[in-house]
């Protein structure tokens, strides 16, 4: 029976070395500024969480195998080898203390994209058998059941029924030729069912043609988080197959950060071809509808609101202005965190950290930076657009006994929709 | 040679010397040295000689220095191993002593800060010789030499 070995790991590390990686490692001067961008270092003060240090295994593979200098060193026995023991030690650094938020990539003076290299390093970690149990379990469940949390369609079907009952609107399922295929995340389905109702009402309000797919409703991608192309590609293939089957022209990724980068940026490369459809985050879609005048709202939130940009959405996908446009539509006392947008701070839970039970203390430590940011602007409520971030904010604020509720932006928009006379429906009749 | 002399030599740094011209670093340091030497002369009677040939002067610097120092009341000339010209400068106690060979080429050029330049004073041995020579001449003329003590 085949197993994950150091040799497979090293081969995977090697496969990830490309021009940018070579340029990045050639340029690092050990200035240590990346540490100042990392919530794990900033909040623990432990220098081992310095981002560039987390990349030491990949750096060694690059130097040993891809540079003339490394080869010369090899001839005289000066190479620093990557060992199984080293990788075991680095597991904590590459998984527990990194959310791949990419903030270090934004501040590195020589321009090193460290987050990209963490993502690449994880390929080698998985192949050498050094991934955290929590992420392995999530990946196995995702492949086997279609959802990292083991959620089945039948659970979602119950949810759909609830929403249809409470909103009086029909939720289209497997509607061939719809404009949008809507994806969900298991976490939303379980923790934030309001989301499904909110988009149902907004799309009905704006007259959007959309559908869910019984073949694939899950947008999240455990393969991206654990860092394995095989798992990730399999999960992307399922989305692409569902979208192609229903012949939709657009796919909407839900309020989940990594799901969006997975399907939007990594997906085409994982399956090795372009999509016959476009991919949007729900916030992009909502802002387009707003800009087109297809969303009519009434009333404003009056409390002091602030917003948390999910890393995957803002810094790593360029969706920054859209959520602010939407906030201004419904909130009159909105104040941004001091550092936001492309330079926002991670909540501490992304990149698989939240699926990695062992990392719980570090996750909470990293959150302290977000907490400080929130306190700095005296927010009364936080708005965000990622289920993982939202869960982390809620848990973290509770941990520190702060009475600051967290809401999803899509729901908030839905609450301010102007009521329109709707076509008669079974739900109406019941009301 | 006369044809060479007819070629006009233009030197930017060596513009016409005059008191009003700003002094450069080399000249200024010489003048400060002179100032301190004068103070020493007044205080302790110590005399000082400054060798102007060993100064890293630029073109025209020497002329400018001499012009700056000006001319005093005393001029003297010594004929020994060629001429030596002594000129008191406008600053009392500061003498310009120009040692020339028989072809009027300069052997050395000193600024001497002293009451009287050394070369003007008779040498002690010459004074001894002078007494002896005078005695000899008086003897030849006749009569006893006067008592020496």
């Amino acid at each position: 029976m085949s197993e994950l070995t150091l040799e497979r790991g090293l081969a995977a590390f090697r496969a990830e070395v490309d021009g940018p990686v070579a340029a990045f490692f050639s340029s690092c001067v050990h200035c240590g500024i990346c540490a100042q961008a990392c919530p794990f270092y900033v909040e623990t003060g432990d220098p081992k969480y310095t981002p560039i240090l987390k990349l030491e295994p990949l750096r060694r593979v690059w130097e040993n195998d891809f540079t003339l200098w490394g080869r010369i060193k090899g001839l005289i026995g000066l190479q620093q080898k990557v060992t199984d023991q080293m990788l075991a030690e680095w597991e904590e650094l590459l998984y527990d203390s990194c959310t791949m938020c990419g903030r270090c990539s934004m501040v590195c003076p020589v321009g090193n994209d460290l987050a990209l290299m963490i993502r690449k390093s994880r390929e080698g970690m998985v192949q050498s058998g050094h991934a955290p149990e929590g992420l392995i379990a999530a990946s196995v469940r995702a492949i086997q059941t279609g959802s990292p949390m083991g959620l089945q369609w039948k659970t979602l079907a119950v949810q759909i029924k609830h929403v249809e009952d409470s909103s009086g609107l029909a939720i289209p399922v497997d509607k061939d030729g719809a404009e949008y295929l809507v994806l969900l995340s298991s976490m939303e389905v379980i923790n934030f069912p309001e989301y499904l109702e909110a988009i149902t009402r907004i799309f009905a309000h704006a007259g959007v043609s959309w559908t869910l797919s019984t073949d694939c409703f899950e947008a999240t991608n455990a393969g991206i988080q654990i860092g394995n192309k095989d798992v990730a590609a399999e999960l992307v293939e399922r989305v692409v197959a569902a979208a192609e089957k229903l012949r939709v022209s657009k796919v909407i990724s839900p309020e989940c950060g990594h799901a969006f980068t997975a399907i939007r940026w990594e997906g085409p490369n994982l399956i090795g071809r372009s999509y016959p459809f476009k991919v949007f985050h729900i916030i992009e879609v909502l802002d387009e509808l707003r800009a087109a005048g297809r969303i009519q709202t009434e009333g404003m939130e009056t409390d002091r609101l602030s917003m948390h940009d999910p890393c995957n959405l803002a810094r790593k996908s360029g969706v920054i202005q859209q959520q602010r446009n939407l906030m201004n539509l419904v909130a009159e006392n909105f104040v941004d965190l001091k550092e936001h947008g492309k330079l926002q701070w991670c909540c501490g839970a992304g990149g698989g950290v939240s699926s990695n039970e062992r990392a719980e203390p570090l996750k909470m430590a990293a959150f302290k930076h977000k907490k400080a940011q929130i306190e700095e602007v005296n927010a009364e409520r936080m708005v965000t657009m990622c289920a993982t971030c939202r869960t982390q904010l809620e848990e973290g604020l509770e941990e520190f006994n702060m009475d600051i509720p967290v809401v999803g932006l899509t729901e908030m928009i839905a609450e301010h929709l102007v009521e329109k006379p709707r076509p008669a429906s079974p739900a109406d009749a019941q009301a | 040679m006369s044809s060479l002399d007819e070629i006009p030599v233009v030197s930017g740094a060596g513009a016409p010397a005059s008191r009003e011209l700003p002094l450069n670093g080399a000249l200024e340091s010489v003048l400060h040295e002179v100032r301190h030497a004068l103070a020493r002369l007044v205080g302790t009677g110590e005399t000082t000689k400054i060798d102007l040939k060993s100064m890293p002067f630029g073109p025209g610097d020497l002329d400018r220095l001499i012009a700056f120092l000006g001319k005093g009341e005393v001029q003297a000339s010594i004929e020994a191993l060629g001429p030596t010209r002594v000129q008191e400068t406008a600053t009392a106690g500061v003498w310009l002593v120009d040692y020339l060979n028989s072809e009027a080429q300069r052997l050395a050029l000193h600024l001497e800060i002293a009451h009287v330049p050394e070369i003007l004073r008779p040498q002690p041995q010459d004074l001894d010789d002078a007494i002896a020579a005078l005695d000899a001449r008086l003897n030849r003329v006749g009569g006893d030499p006067p008592p020496t003590s």
């Binding site: 197993e3 394995n228 | 890293p56 030596t84 050394e118």
Partner: protein
Amino acid sequence: MAARNATEKTLGESLRERGVSRRGFLKFCAATASMMALPPSMTSTIAAALEQARRPSVIWLSFQECTGCTESLTRSHAPTVEDLILDVISLDYHHTLQAAAGEAAELARVQAMKAHAGDYLVVVDGSLPGPDSNPGYSTVAGHSNYDMLMETVEHAAAVVAVGSCAAFGGLPHASPNPTGAVSVLDVVKHKPVVNVSGCPPIPMVITGVLAHYLIFGRLPELDAYHRPLAFFGQSIHDRCYRRPFYDKGLFAKSFDDEGARLGWCLYQLGCKGPSTYNACATMRWNDGTSWPVEAGHPCLGCAEPSFWDAGGFYQALSVPTSASGMTVLGAGAAGALVGGAVAALAKRRTKAEEARRQPVTVDELEQKL
């Protein structure tokens, strides 16, 4: 001591014999101090020493040279203080200047060596073919330069190497040095050697060294290159009257530009003054008339070793002596090839590995749970 002959008389005596008065002697001492770059306050010390100094015997050997050094010393067209010094030394052998010729000349050398064994000075101008090279490149009276030098210095008190050829090998030593030329110091190890470098050396420096020996009975203090510190202690640059322009960053960029007319620093025109140690800036040439930098020409660095091979005379001091842009281009191209090959090799290996890549399976993952 043998009977008093010419060299046994003190200098004071011989000067007075020539009718020099005490004031004249004082003047002579002042001039000597100036020439030796000593402060004027040393005049009385010099006077006292000169009163007692004896005329030394000097043997002057000329090897691979151009006679420029001798010209420098003797071509002043009027008697100067240097002449006075030369007059009081006993120049017993100098084949350019002496009246004797042929065997008589060589005999004079041998006699002087015998008569003043242990006391005479040897002055050398010109380099000589080294002991390992063909002696035929330069001979005097059938003797190789090397043999003659070694024989003559055997009983000498000291050796004065005059000019850059004798001091450092000079022009004959310049690449590719066909005669295997060496300097005096290269072969004379057991006698004190003073180098008076320069091409030619400043005449006053030559006589200054002789005067020093005459006055103090010993050789002057020397630098690492055996040059008298009194004359070679400071660089041209440090004593240059154009130095303020260097400090301000004002440079002549060509020989006829505004900077050249205003007398700005000649660094960019190749002046080697910063690395050249000599007394030109203060002693000047042609009886103190001027010196190269004052005349508007950069210092060639003629008083330094290997000055012929130290790069172009008109190239700035910082310019490497031989590298060119083509070296860089060639090396760069070679590097690109090597680096490209290594990376391409690694890449190909990786691609091959990827082709054999085992996908991660659920089973494999589950083993780790």
